[in-house]
Amino acid sequence: MAEIRTEEMLMNVGPQHPSTHGVLRLVVKLDGETIVDVDPVVGYLHRGTEKLAEDLQYTQIIPYTDRMDYLAAMLNNYALVHAVEEAMELQIPERAEYLRVIVMELNRIASHLLFIGAYLLDLGAMSPFLYVFQDRERILQLFNEICGARITYNYMRIGGVKWDAPPGWIEKVQQFVPHMRESIKMLHDLITGNEIFLNRVKGIGAYDAETAIAYSLSGINLRCTGYKWDLRRNRPYSIYDRFDFEIPVGKNGDCFDRYILHLEEMEQSLRIVEQACGQIPEGPVMGKVPKILRPPAGEYYSGIEGARGELGVYFVSDGKDKPYRLKFRRPSFVNLQLLPSLLKGQNMANLIAILGAVDIVLGEVDC
């Protein structure tokens, strides 16, 4: 029998594609529906934040961080202000620390919610996307009340936070917690047991802890392999050592573990929010900081547990009011590096499942 001549097909997935979550471009080499090679092309959303920061005073950089991971801007805010505060050894008022923790954990929940919705949308289920938006909306409303913005908050300042919580805000957050627990239960009922969903994510895109560490993965992408590493626990910053919460870890390192960890982390975040709301003291929300911030000359790095992994800020100060060099360690960008090796040999349908589970935000990848 004569051999049938087959050809490999080069397909351009993105930058305008419904499932690349923004402007990621994947040049996919296909053999039938099997992926032979993938070449991710990033940079379509590059805005030069790091370079711009060199011309800005430290406080002026904060709104730029909002635009990196626009789904978890509170955490970005914190990553920057925390790095500067560490460098200058500033004292932060207690109330400000609590407010920060509350908004950060709420933002983590909002970000994880959107992951669940978008991931299920990628896998063809429409409804969860709209359900999670309801809960996310409540969180955004809370943010709107505390800082007047829904996405780009610009809430934190070096030395504290910009606004105190309006009267009744803490109570609203406390009311939100049980509501959110119900919602998580509903999401479990709707999605977690679905046979079609399980077939699409169980055992797909699996890697082990060794690979994850070799690729410098962090966050859920690392914890899904069973490696217990969470900066809130392992290198406590802010006041995280005061709260009682667990670090959920996966077992198999597959897409399902990554999905389920998002839900479990939301529950842990709720626990932190609940405790923080109970313990929050009265007092000022802005510490005593100099008018012009000049960190002493030197190199500084501090990492926090972002919604997607270790969100690090490294900067070099030459003693002036602007950084000499500022570098963001964006977890999405680092986590994306594993993608090509995960995708080889998979079929087109798995591409979406695997890419979605890596949970990238293009604003953060390109920065």
């Binding site: 097909m9 397909m11 594609h17 419904p18 499932s19 529906e33 299920l120 949308l121 990628d122 896998l123 063809g124 289920a125 429409m126 409804s127 709209l130 359900y131 309801q134 999605i191 679905n194 079609i196 969903f197 077939n199 699409r200 079929n347 087109m348 349908a349 798995n350 591409l351 979406i352």
Partner: protein, 333 residues
């Protein structure tokens, strides 16, 4: 209604005119059905997703579909420069015509004025509906777009694979009724009972295979939006796109009619007139398909094939054997 008893008449200018008139009436009726099916779908899914659904055009958004169709009509008919032009132009028509033609075999009421009383109606349905696959495949191929090609090939593979269990699942009903004529099958159910009870296994296979055959969620791989952008109709716009959509929704209607007629006793039911019973049953089917769309994620392409060949087909065959054996016993005893 003697006016529409044209099937047995000789072909004269008069009968030809009456045929055309009947055809146009059915066509307009079906266009209305499809328009309101779209509306129904968007409302239902909207409510399930805590949204309102269309509510701007006309009272309660009732004219939304009409506005959409008008918009599609007014749009430019784009043919990509690199497309295979003749095939590209004809493919939507190939996909769309059979979807109208199959409806001729559906008995809507006991007197069925519009129905071609074909003695092999089921065979006719299956045979014609498979022509649509050709239209979809051609459309995917002729677009000269990689997403379209993948979508078209997936469609072809999927629809051919699921046509077999679909046909097999109907065999049980045919065995029980002893006829391929849908009218006879409905009559047989009136004498005996709705075939959903004795043919439950067959019905399960039927409903799954039908969903896949219709390319609806969870089997909507050909137009898997998140992977293939829009699948085989990525390059289509304007009225050619509308043709594909029309074909898709007409098949939803046709399969629902088939399901209602074969498993739920068609037009038969107490009190209410036959056409209303039929409409209720068909609507329930249509609702079921929309409900699925709001609930399910999409199945993966290789799992889809495995499911058809390794699960559905054996089940359908088991159903046929069981039905035959039981029927033999009953007849013998």
């Amino acid at each position: 209604m003697p006016f529409f008893q044209w099937v047995n008449d000789a072909l004269t200018w008069g009968t030809l005119f009456r045929m055309l008139l009947g055809g146009i009436i059915v066509l307009l009726f079906l266009l209305g059905v499809v328009a309101y099916m779209l509306y129904f779908e968007r409302k239902i899914i909207g409510w399930m997703q805590l949204r309102i659904g269309p509510n701007r055009v006309g009272p309660l958004g009732l004219f939304q579909s009409i506005a959409d169709v008008l918009k599609l009509l007014a749009k430019e008919d784009i043919v990509p420069a690199q497309a295979d032009r003749p095939l590209f132009l004809i493919a939507p028509i190939i996909a769309f015509v059979p979807s109208f033609v199959v409806i001729a075999a559906i008995p809507w009421t006991a007197s069925h004025p519009f129905t071609a009383d074909i003695s092999v109606a089921l065979l006719y349905y299956l045979a014609l509906s498979s022509i649509t696959i050709l239209g979809i495949m051609l459309g995917g191929w002729a677009s000269n777009n990689k997403y379209s090609l993948l979508g078209g090939m997936r469609s072809a593979a999927q629809m051919i694979s699921y046509e077999i269990p679909l046909g097999m699942s109907l065999l049980g009903v045919i065995l029980m009724a002893g006829s391929l004529n849908i009218v006879d099958i409905v009559e047989a159910q009136r004498r005996f009972m709705w075939f959903i009870i004795p043919q439950f296994l067959g019905f399960c296979v039927f409903i799954v295979a039908a969903t896949a055959e219709l390319n609806r969620t969870p089997f909507d791989l050909p137009e898997a939006e998140s992977e293939l952008v829009a699948g085989y109709h990525t390059e289509y716009s304007g009225f050619r796109f509308a043709f594909y959509m029309l074909a898709e929704y007409l098949y939803v209607f046709a399969i629902s009619c088939l399901g209602a007629a074969l498993f739920f006793g068609g037009w038969s039911g107490p009190l209410l007139p036959g056409w209303l019973w039929f409409a209720i049953k068909v609507s329930a089917f249509i609702f079921f398909f929309f409900w699925l769309r709001a609930t399910m994620p999409r199945i993966r392409v290789d799992q889809l094939m495995t499911f058809s060949w390794k699960v559905l087909l054996p089940l359908a065959l088991v159903n046929i054997v069981l039905t035959s054996v039981i029927k033999y016993w009953v007849n013998a005893g």
